[in-house]
Symmetry: D2
């Protein structure tokens, strides 16, 4: 397996110069565009690596499935569905181009910033510090890594410059979809996006979604998250990804992608050079080759 992974990285190196490291948060712009790693963890327990597998990066949007999962576990499907919908929006991840109608009817998606920010309010906790702690705890358990934590430099950078996310949060407030203090909700969200991880962490989390772990996750909720990732996990590149790769996945502008192959394996890949939709270019290509090689498409 490791030889296969090494070969795949080799074939994807040409993607790196085509992408751009995220620059909308100053701290993210410091990432080394050449960092490139992958990790696979199979149902049978095999763990295989290639490339910069110990490189840490912030999860960014990859935390969204954990926000959704925690909201589902803490508040149930009904409360979650009152707040967010299930349809792809056909729009970029940080879109604010909603009609009044769309917002009033709760048509926002949990894999889009607006939906994820709203779902922070459904995590259990007396304060947003507690809600965040609970989310972090859940993420650590899924990754079986108690050392996962916030990258404080990225968090501060997000907090200082995240005007668009703040705009989205005040919009949610204006439409009654956030009842708490906006600054506390958005602080929780900024911290969540700034949790750092390695490819191994992503692969282990993905394995729980792929193969279940009754002690950690309700199977119905895992299916809910996987289905949501399938239709919307790669932003407005989700349809393309379904064609070319064919399993649920979630990308983040930090350069990571978490791939969930139901009943088979979890995958983590990292390469911070992004395409225009905010997805890792070499990461997508690597997943495509891996899917073809191991026949991972669920279709």
């Amino acid at each position: 397996m490791e030889a296969l992974l090494r070969g795949i990285l080799e074939k994807c190196l040409d993607q790196i110069p085509k992408g751009q490291v995220a620059s909308y948060i100053p701290e993210l712009a410091k990432a080394d565009p050449k960092g490139f790693g992958i990790c696979v963890v199979t149902q049978e327990g095999q763990v295989a690596f290639a490339g910069d597998h110990s490189q840490k990066f912030t999860m960014q949007s990859i935390i969204k499935p954990m926000i959704l999962l925690t909201a589902l576990q803490d508040s149930g499907v009904d409360e979650v569905r009152k707040l967010v919908g299930a349809e792809a929006t056909g729009k970029p991840f940080d879109t604010f181009n909603y009609s009044d109608q769309a917002l009033a009817a709760g048509h926002i998606n949990p894999m889009i910033n607006t939906g994820a920010i709203a779902l922070c309010t459904l995590i259990r906790g007396d304060s947003y510090e507690q809600k965040f702690e609970r989310l972090l705890e859940m993420t650590r358990k899924l990754a079986a890594n108690p050392h996962m934590d916030v990258d404080m430099a990225v968090y501060r950078s997000e907090k200082a410059t995240g005007s668009k996310n703040r705009a989205l949060a005040y919009l949610l407030k204006a439409y009654g979809m956030i009842r708490d203090d906006v600054e506390q909700v958005i602080d929780c969200y900024f911290k969540a996006c700034s949790i750092s991880a390695t490819c191994l962490d992503l692969a282990r989390i993905a394995l729980v979604f792929a193969c279940g772990d009754a002690a950690l996750v309700d199977a119905a909720y895992a299916r809910y998250v996987n289905a949501t990732l399938m239709t919307c996990g790669m932003y407005d590149g989700s349809g393309e990804f379904a064609l070319n790769v064919g399993f649920p996945a979630k990308s983040g502008v930090g350069g990571g992608i978490m791939g969930v192959v139901p009943r088979r394996m979890g995958i983590g890949v990292y390469s911070p050079a992004l395409d225009k939709k905010g997805n890792s270019m070499a990461g997508i290509k690597a997943l495509e080759l891996l899917s073809r090689e191991l026949e991972l498409s669920i279709f």
Copy 2:
């Protein structure tokens, strides 16, 4: 299996009065809202029925995957992708609410009317009569039913009243996405939508997409179609359907739904009372119960 199917239909009867038979084409409005049938064909060759399984109905949008498949087989992925995209639009099936940009860049989806009309031009044939014959032939082969044919009354009704589809076709012409005569292209599309089928026909077609048939369909194209159905097959209800049912499917306003369970079975269900998005209400419910009972979700 048949007892299971009968039980499921029983449990879904309460959905029928909540829906509405399609009325935008006069001929469709004549359907009996109480018609309700289901058919399952498994990889092992088992065929099971319940309800009005011999009831004929027009395929309507269920023909779209066959249009996509035939275009792929006749013109290849590259030509198809020059014309249509792969992303969900987040909009209704007959939307004309495109920005100039969206159209110019070919962002239309093959499971939306605009995309399906455009793809008719990529089917092989010297004339649109020939292109249609080729599409019908392909559909008959997939269903293993040489008697499938056009419901002429529905076809004439569509042709006489289909102003919105005509508008979409002229729009495609205006943007250079149709080069041929609009009236001929749209006539081919109207005929395609008016092919009538039974639940058995749908189930057999679905089985080919689910389990392959090297003589009929290139495996890569079948996966392409299945992935497209997963993200966009149920219009702007595709995300919801992924959560609750969890496999590729295509609905039509004639009341049918074709369900593709990869590596396991094909399903056809029929009940013409539709929800507001144009999907069969009892049909979706039946697929949901069947998916839960037989653990058909691919997530």
Copy 3:
């Protein structure tokens, strides 16, 4: 006055190379981009010319105020307002980017193609030949020129290539805003756009809108048209035009602009090099200079 007009044309010559002759209809693309003329007719009866004042060009969208006026005279304000609204759309002249809601509620504007096509149905006449004849007759009377007529080459070119207008017309049909045969309605519209005129014709028509002529036009309807021109006559450049020029006007992609200075004068200007919004570049500049020189702004 003629010296003033000559001086103004001189100062606007530099605008011509910045624009583009309309190319979406082949016949329009044949226009000489260097053609440039202006004509002013004052309330006191003075007529002044400069440049290519005898050059003929097709009215294109400049016929829209005549369509609106004739619909108002023949069917009254109530019928007109059932079909079209009064608000600027903030969108290009040939936009089809309407939401279902917008169309159903009749929010279309009479100075946008959709609205003008719909209003053709409210002109008096047993057939669309008769409706067109009535519109032509009205236009001739307003211009005091019984020789105005259709440029048959442009008309045939529009009819052969006008897919976008046809798309809009079928859309109107789909939403019940056209009840008659689409091909007849759109033929009437294509002919209307193809009526050819000179700057003198435009200036004389404008003078009737500016100063009234009880025998020809109800004063309330003239005010209705002028107000509509003020807010929407220059497409999505109407706000800019109000700032820089400051009186009601209507442009056409044939290169003409008709300017209405209430209680003072009518103006016709022609230069076929257009800006991206479809307005004559040198024409707008000439009106701006004239407005400044003679203090024509109504604000």
Copy 4:
């Protein structure tokens, strides 16, 4: 004149029960829906009143023309036009339904909240306290009323609940259209909207826009403001208002409307029962009757 005004108010009383007092800010909801007053100040210096002419109300959006004027005077047309456009948006006053493109290109309108918030940054002053003081000073001078001031209860209510305006301001920040601290800019805007006025104040301000006052306002800037009011002053009811009333005007959700009749008079009217677009219902009707009676339409 006063008899005329009294008669007009009488005829408009039936409009009041059809509207709704603004409720999106708690403090505004306390307004007495029956309050109704009008004031006219003519070029010749005549002042006429009817109804509750000494009733104070907050200016809300009526302050927008003063923000635009002050920005023009302090920073010039070029800076203003870099930040805001001139076209009607066809959308409600507090719309956030912008595409990325629209924002990046500065297509926002100064009579829409987004545009007015952005323009606060172009008022002269070392701090936002100073900028606000300058705006207040300008407003007092235009109204010839040094006692005009902020209604502190409304200001606090706006500041505590104005999530949508805050969302718009953070959006502007995200797109580089606000460079300063968002909370300070929005505080300035909230205070500006909370300046209270009487019908007499509005009428006097309007008279300066209508007839000029070289000591206070550059004539070119007054025309700029008037033209902007004509195309966009009544939100997405501006086209309708142009047809039925026919002169520049600006409404606010506090219930006031300021009417500018170029070269003739300034008008202030107040009635807090609003239509769905946020315009005073009885106020619009009163202006319509007055326009008809005195032939005030500029068309």
